[in-house]
């Protein structure tokens, strides 16, 4: 017999009991669902990358040839005794060939007749292939059918007498394939982006030139080779593939999307583009909006009413004052809180008016009216009689008025900002590695979707509406809404299409 919580019995429930328990499961909050979605998306992307990488490696190790013959590379361990045995067998074989040849030469010496027909030294007879089907199985056991159609030219060259004819050229079905390749001929940009090719996230990897004869060159790796068009069946639909072979080795390839866009691989992080799709003339303007949004968001947080965001870049940690203050959130009940001056780092703030002016250069008038009222509750004057390290007795002070929760203090004529919030170490307002998405641009407004950072996690999306301030002509934040990261993902998915 064992004493325990009777409700522990409900653990490890079988299906019918589980159904009853899940019906009484508390509702999961929107915030919690967003967190779970964000975590799931992260893990899914990592797994997907691994799967695609694994597939690419497999593809690179496989050479498809005509008539459904599959050649592969398999790593095997050979027994140690095999090498000497093979060497001995080879010696015997070579000796046999030499002796046999000598015997044959001796036989023909007196009886050979010259017919006058010159045999070709090399005859490359190329069969017209209209559709070679390769069937392979992916990691999950699904069948992928790939049909490669090659526009080859029949050619017999290099006869022993030094003459040779040029190929007669492809005809029939090959002509249409040639036309398909001709349609792709021209210069393409090879681009890479982890974030759906949002301007500012694109890396140019080089130029791919596709020629009408089916050859290509790629400046990124200084390689040349041949282009092959094929069809791949996935999920019940057919996709036109474009593959680039360096010699007989598959180099890269992907899916034909339209006349200006070939997506490379199926992870969506690389592509070939040309024409309007490759036009980057408007990227600079887009990036300038991103920079404006980034700057405004950082400034917005500098004066945001939560303590963790107060001017982290401008704190002068050489000019600080520390007091021992009451903190009901801690078991000890008190903690040391350090305040720093905002001075000497390109920004100097000495009064509440200075902070307000700073905020007004960030907020639109209507937003300032809403946000700045918080500032009035954020200041406390500390008596000059206290010294650095002193405990300040706050017995009888209401919870929300405790000094440890105030963002600014005035002490001996200077203004200091609280640096000791439990969250004060959370630095960075926007994720540095993710591009801000800009939408709905007009001459006087735009909307930014900024990936937010909380601690070490990129799990927020700030939707920021910016407007032009009529009096100064500068951009201001007009509204600022904090959302789950999924909102960023949704807007990101609109790109690369």
């Amino acid at each position: 017999m064992k004493e325990k919580n009777i409700f522990d019995i409900l653990g490890n429930a079988e299906d019918d009991s589980m159904e009853r328990l899940s019906n009484k499961c508390p509702e999961i909050t929107e915030e919690q669902l967003n967190k779970i979605l964000s975590l799931s998306e992260k893990k899914y992307k990592v797994k997907k990358k691994e799967i695609l990488k694994d597939r690419t490696e497999k593809d690179n190790n496989i050479t498809m040839t005509e008539n459904d013959v599959v050649e592969g590379v398999e790593r095997v361990r050979r027994p140690a005794w095999l090498a000497p045995l093979c060497s001995a067998a080879s010696l015997i074989l070579v000796a046999g060939v030499v002796l046999g040849s000598m015997t044959m030469f001796r036989k023909d010496k007196n009886g050979k007749i010259d017919t006058g027909v010159i045999e070709p030294a090399v005859t490359a007879t190329t069969t017209q292939v209209s559709g070679t089907t390769h069937i392979s199985t992916d990691k999950n056991g699904s069948t992928i059918t790939t049909t490669v159609t090659t526009a080859s030219l029949s050619k017999t060259t290099g006869k022993a007498d030094g003459t040779g004819e040029s190929g007669s050229g492809a005809s029939g079905g090959a002509a249409s394939v040639n036309e398909e390749i001709k349609a792709l001929a021209g210069q393409w940009k090879y681009q890479e982006s982890q974030y759906n090719f949002v301007p500012g996230s694109i890396t140019e990897k080089g130029t791919v030139v596709i020629n009408e004869d089916g050859t290509y060159s790629y400046s990124g790796t200084n390689e040349t080779g041949t282009v092959k068009i094929g069809v791949e069946k996935m999920g019940g639909s057919s996709h036109k593939t474009v593959s680039f072979y360096n010699g007989s080795s598959y180099s890269f390839g992907g899916y034909y999307q339209n006349n200006e866009w070939i997506s490379i691989g199926n992870g969506g992080i690389s592509r070939l583009v040309r024409g309007s799709k490759a036009d980057t003339s408007k990227d600079a303007e887009y990036i300038s909006y991103q920079n404006t949004a980034h700057d405004l968001i950082e400034k917005y947080y500098d004066t945001f009413y939560q303590i963790m965001f107060r001017f982290p870049q401008y704190r002068n940690m050489n000019e600080t004052i520390t007091f021992n203050l009451k903190d009901p959130n801690l078991e000890a009940g008190v903690r040391d809180v350090t305040y720093a001056r905002i001075t000497g780092k390109g920004l100097e703030l000495n009064s509440k008016a200075d902070v307000e002016n700073y905020a007004r250069r960030t907020y639109s008038d209507s937003l300032a009216a809403k946000e700045l009222e918080y500032l009035n509750d954020d200041y406390v004057a500390v008596s000059d009689t206290y010294k650095n390290g002193d405990h300040i007795d706050e017995t009888g002070v209401a919870l929300e008025d405790l000094l440890s929760f105030k963002n600014f203090i005035f002490y001996k004529g200077n203004m200091y900002v609280n640096t000791s919030s439990p969250q004060a170490g959370w630095m960075g307002y926007t994720a540095a590695d993710k591009p801000i998405i800009i939408k709905d641009i007009t001459s006087t407004s735009f909307r930014a979707y900024a990936p937010g950072v909380m601690g070490e996690n990129n799990d927020r999306c700030e939707v920021v509406d910016c407007v032009i301030d009529p009096s100064s002509g500068e951009w201001r934040v007009n509204s600022f809404v904090d959302n789950g990261y999924a909102v960023y993902g949704e807007n990101l998915s609109d790109y690369n299409s």
Partner: protein, 188 residues
């Protein structure tokens, strides 16, 4: 959500599809994972495990053409397997979370003795039957408080009652449950 709807949504927008899956089955997966991990994992462990389940499901539906299956059944299976895997990796950490403000409440349920030899699945059914007999909102209050370890204030918010009412109803409901369990042969 049917398999066809899921497929169409996946083709249209994977992100939208993922969001819909989490929204529709998040609570279900959470309940299953919680059931396995409630005695050994923290809230974060449970959320991690739930996200593992959804990541596995996203991958499966993206790379497996054969997704004409019972979605809920399939998700339930993945959730159970993932939770068991996570349970195994967590079993060294025994941590049954009890909120400080609920200590008095815990006394109400800890004085039952459970004979390990009794068929646990039968016991589960009897317990759930007896809790259901209490009617709503008492059955939900008891399950959420003692099984899902929710604070009275949180339960109060979700069922639109005051914190004090939840605590009072809870004390009365657990007393009634005790009587019912004794009648059913489950004694101290």
């Amino acid at each position: 959500m049917t398999s066809n709807e899921l497929k169409q949504m996946l083709e249209r927008s994977p992100a939208e599809c993922h969001k819909a899956l989490v929204k529709e089955y998040g609570r279900y997966v959470y309940a299953i994972v919680f059931n396995k991990l409630r005695n050994c994992g923290t809230k974060e462990d449970i959320e991690e495990c739930v996200s593992d389940v959804f990541a596995a499901i996203f991958i499966k539906y993206e790379f497996d053409e054969d997704c004409d299956r019972d979605i809920k059944g399939y998700i339930g299976t993945v959730a159970k397997r993932s939770a068991i895997d996570r349970f195994r990796s967590l079993t060294s950490r025994i941590n049954h979370t009890v909120y400080a403000d609920e200590d008095d409440m815990q006394e109400l349920v800890s004085d039952f003795s459970v004979d390990e030899r009794v068929d646990r699945s039968e016991l589960r059914r009897v317990l759930l039957d007896k809790i259901d007999e209490l009617g709503e909102p008492d059955s939900t209050i008891l399950i959420q408080k003692f099984y899902y370890n929710r604070k009275s204030a949180e339960i109060a918010e979700s069922i639109s009652m005051s914190d004090a009412s939840v605590r009072t109803r809870c004390s009365r409901a657990i007393a009634k449950l005790k009587v019912k369990l004794v009648e059913a042969g489950i004694t101290r």
